[in-house]
Symmetry: C3
Subunit: 269 residues, 3 copies
Amino acid sequence: MSRTPADLSSFTSEALGRVRARGPLVHCITNSVVVNFTANALLAAGAAPAMVDIPDEAGPFATVADGLLVNLGTPTAEQRAAMVEAAEAANATGTPWVLDPVAVGSLPVRTALAEQLRDLGPTVVRGNASEIIAVSGSGGGGRGVDATDDVEGAVESARALAVRTGGVVAVSGPVDVVTDGERLVRIANGDPLLTRITGGGCALGALMAAFAAVDDDRLATTVAAVTVYTVAAELAAKQSAGPGTFGPAFLDALASIDAADLDARARLS
Amino acid sequence: MSRTPADLSSFTSEALGRVRARGPLVHCITNSVVVNFTANALLAAGAAPAMVDIPDEAGPFATVADGLLVNLGTPTAEQRAAMVEAAEAANATGTPWVLDPVAVGSLPVRTALAEQLRDLGPTVVRGNASEIIAVSGSGGGGRGVDATDDVEGAVESARALAVRTGGVVAVSGPVDVVTDGERLVRIANGDPLLTRITGGGCALGALMAAFAAVDDDRLATTVAAVTVYTVAAELAAKQSAGPGTFGPAFLDALASIDAADLDARARLS
Amino acid sequence: MSRTPADLSSFTSEALGRVRARGPLVHCITNSVVVNFTANALLAAGAAPAMVDIPDEAGPFATVADGLLVNLGTPTAEQRAAMVEAAEAANATGTPWVLDPVAVGSLPVRTALAEQLRDLGPTVVRGNASEIIAVSGSGGGGRGVDATDDVEGAVESARALAVRTGGVVAVSGPVDVVTDGERLVRIANGDPLLTRITGGGCALGALMAAFAAVDDDRLATTVAAVTVYTVAAELAAKQSAGPGTFGPAFLDALASIDAADLDARARLS
C-alpha cells in the first residue's frame, strides 16, 4: 500500500511502459491556449487524446474514455456545461479525472465552477501553489496563471484539499509536491524552460489523467506523471537554444524517455 | 477524363505549382486543437488561410473564398451554425468544399451534423476508415479520432459515399485511398510520425480544399493533395528526432517539396 | 517629448530591459489560431500572458493587468462581449490597450465591433494596410487577413485614425509605420518568413501591449515593440530551414535578443 520513494521511482518506469502499451484514451476539456500542445504531449507519451468539449457529447464520451482532464483556463459557457456533465459521468463510471483550476481565486466565473467541480471529488487536483490554496478554500489566489505563493506554503492546503476530495493533490513548482492527504512526495526535477512556454503545467494535468488510467494507486500514478514530465524537461533543455526550440525538444523527450533516464535523474523524496 | 496513375503523378507537381502561384484563399472552420497547425500548413504549401467561423460571416466569406474546409473536431454551437451557412453558400457559388467528419459515429451532436452536411454534397469527404464508414451510413464508427477499422475495409463505404454525395471521398491510413465512386487511387506514402502529432489528418483536409481550388478534376486534386502531404511527411521524418521536431520539419518540407521529390517518391496505383 | 530615430533606437533596448525586468501581465482576448503562439511570444519576450476572454471575468481582469490586447480574428459571441467589457474597464483604470482589427472591412460582425472598439479610444491600433484603411473609415478593406493595400497607401488613413482615437496607429508590412498623428516612424526590419507563419502580426499586437505597460510614450513603446519583433525575425531567419523551424527559432530569438543585436540591425527613420 505505502510505496517508498524507491518503489515510486521504479513504479514510474513501469507506469510509463503501461501508458505506451495501452495507449489510454484521454478525454480533455481544456483551454484554447494549450489544447494543441496538450494533445501533442499525450501523443508523444503514448496516450490517445480526444478533445470533446461540448454539452451532450462530453458526458457520454467520459464514460468510454480511460481518463478525463478538466482544465479551467478559458472556460466558455459550453465548456463549463460540458465539464460538469463529463465529471458527473466520470464519477458514475469510475473514470479517473483530473481538475486543473487555472487562475482560480479572484476570477469569479471559474472560481465558482472550480468549487462545484472540487465538490464532485476529482481523482487528482493539479495546480500551482496559488491555485491549490484558492481551490482548497484556505486562501487568496494569484493574479493570473503564475503562482504568487510558493509550493511549501501550499502544502497544508494541499493536504486539506486531498482529505476533502478523497483524492490526490499535486502542486507544481521548482519542487513538485504530491499528496493524498497522508503520504507526501516531493519531486525535485524539471527545468526553468518549462515555465517559459505556455501550457507547461496544463499538459502535465493531461498526463496525470493518462497515468491514472493504468493503475489504481493514484498517488503513485500522479508521482509517475510528474516525474516523467519533469525529467523529460531536463532532457529537452539540453537540446534547446531557448523556449522556442524547447517545445519540440520536450515532445521528442516525452516520446523517447526511458527507464535509464528516469533511474539516472529522478529525485523523489 | 480518366487520368492514369502516371498522369496523376505528373498532375500532382503541376497542381502544387498552381497552388503556389495562385495562393488560393482557403476558408477554414475547424477545431481548436489543430487550427494553428492547419493555418501554418496552408501557408507553408503556398495557400492563404482564413479562419472565419462565426454565423453571419461564414456564409458571405465562403462565397469569396477559393475553397472551404468544414472540420467537426470541436464543434461549438456557433461553429455548427457557421458550418451549415458556409456549406450552403459554397454550394450556391460553386466554391469547392471539404468535409472532415472527425470522430463521428457515436458522438451524437457531430454525427447528426455530419449527416446534414453530407447531404449538402461536399466536394470532398476526408476521414479515417471509421469516420468514412460512419458518415456513409454503412457502419458503426470508432471510439474517438483513431480509426478502429482499416482502410481497405472502408473502400466499399467510400465508393458508396462518393456516389451518394456526387463528390470525392478520401480515406486516410498507412495507404490512403481516394475515390469518386468509379475511379479508385491508392497512395502508399507517408510516415508513422504523421500519426504522432495532432492534426496530421485535419491539415490534410485543408490542403485538399486548397488543391480543389486549382482544377475541376477533384479526384486528381485530392490525390495531389494527399501525395504532396504524405511525401512531405517522408522528407520531414528524415529531419526529425521525434514527434516534436517532426512538426516544424513537416512545415518546412511542405514549403520546399518540389517535382523531383514527388517524382522520386510518389507511389500511386 | 519628441524623440529622434536615434533616441527611439536606444529607447528600444531600454524598453526591452524593462519588459524583462518587470514581466508585465498582458491580458489577451485573441483568436483561436494564434493564441498559443501569442502566449509563447509574450513569455519569450519576458512578459506574462493571461488569456481571460469570457464575460464577467474580462472586465475585472483588465483592471489588474498591465496591458490588454483585443484581437478580432475569430470573435465568438462571448469574446465580443468580453472585449467591450475589457476595453471599457481598461479605459476606466488607464490600462493601455491594443486593438488588432483582423480582417475588418467586408466581414460584418467584426467590422461593426471594430468600429465600436475604435470609438472607445484604443492606446494602439495595429493592422496591415487594408485593415487600417478599413477601421479608419477611409476605404474598403481586404478579402481576408492579407493586406491588398500597401503600407505607404495607408499612411494618411493611419494618421487620421491616430488623430481620431487620440492614440498610436501601427501599420505592418515590409516597412512598418508607426504614427501618433503627428510623428511618423518607419521601421525597415523583418523577414518574409514572418508572413509565412500564422500569427506573425497578431503576436506583435500582444508585444505592443507589453511594451505599452513600461512607459507612457506610446509612440516610443510601439516602435520598440515593432523593432524588437522584426529584428528577432531577422535573427531567426538565419537559424531556419523554412517556415516550420522559423517559428521556434523566432521564439528563441525573442528570448535572446539584446542591445547589441538591436544596435546593429535596427533601421528606424
